[in-house]
Amino acid sequence: MTCSHITSCPLFPLFTLKASLSVWQVHYCNGQFETCERLKLAKAGARVPPNLLPNGKSLDPALLKR
């Protein structure tokens, strides 16, 4: 069973473009998607920050800019 939000989640294509990141897809998108914090937020009707990872941690925006 696959997460119902893979067509709209901006992180899902990232996970599939790089094999080193596919562990996220295997663990969350195609696995325990009920535990994905992004899915929980989306189901609550809130806008999901793009840097929020499925495990609830966020990419630091400061680290994304050089």
């Binding site: 696959t2 294509p13 080193s20 562990v23 897809q25 920050p49 840097n51």
Partner: protein, 230 residues
């Protein structure tokens, strides 16, 4: 009283608007969600900045993702990008994030992946774009009124409203209370007549069909009630 369009013209016009909106912008048409964004401006601006940060530097994004992957799953982070496994990025897009989120982009390395049905929606636009949308809504109504020659500034809602509800401050208070109820209702059911009635019903979504039945049914019922009281 303004004459309405015949039903056989209104339905195709609304359908063309709804479908055209999706074709041009890759987003479902809705209004209440746009309004709601301006009730939480600070959070929305923070999310917009997050999107900008994700698109700014693909190398930094890749490094940050690798580090978070190692932290989350206990894997050793890749030391050199050239040694990373995986397919090459598609050409043309200027950033990894843009390539990944471009509408129609398909995964290239997913052995257990099921092909998604339909194409992905475009991402939520920046707050400024939605501000333009709301201004255009008001400007469009103003333009229509000016072209018809029916524009006018008035503090009243007409004799019918005054007879059935109230006039003066009491009438304004009733309008404000009605507005609060409309806002509460749209937030509760996650949409309005545009989002549920046009977009949701057009996609045969059960929640939208039920919401539309309820609020249109309520509108028809109240109309008959007011007509009986008049």
């Amino acid at each position: 009283m303004t004459s309405y369009w015949p039903f056989w013209a209104t339905a195709p016009a609304l359908a063309a608007l709804t479908v055209g909106y999706w074709i041009l912008l890759r987003r479902p048409l809705g209004v209440s969600g746009v309004l709601a964004r301006f009730s939480r401006v600070r959070e929305e601006l923070e999310v917009d900045r997050g999107f900008e940060a994700m698109e700014a530097d693909p190398a930094a994004l890749e490094a940050a993702m690798a580090a978070m992957t190692a932290e989350a799953f206990g894997m050793a982070p890749e030391e050199e990008p050239s040694s990373m496994e995986g397919p090459a990025l598609p050409t043309a897009p200027s950033s990894m994030f843009e390539a990944a989120t471009a509408p129609g982009s398909a995964p290239v390395d997913s052995p257990v992946f099921e092909e998604p049905r339909g194409r992905a929606c475009a991402s939520t636009p920046a707050l400024g774009e939605h501000a333009v949308f709301l201004v255009a809504l008001v400007a469009g109504g103003l333009l229509a009124a000016l072209l018809r020659g029916t524009f006018g500034v008035t503090a009243g809602m007409g004799q019918g409203f005054a007879r059935l509800v109230a006039n003066g401050p009491a009438g304004l208070a009733a309008l404000a209370g009605g507005g609060v109820l409309v806002g509460f209702g749209t937030a509760l059911c996650g949409g309005c007549t545009a989002g549920h009635g046009l977009t949701g019903c057009g996609r045969l979504m059960p929640g939208s069909l039920l919401s539309t039945i309820v609020f249109f049914g309520a509108a028809v019922g109240v109309s008959f009630l007011l007509a009986g009281l008049a």
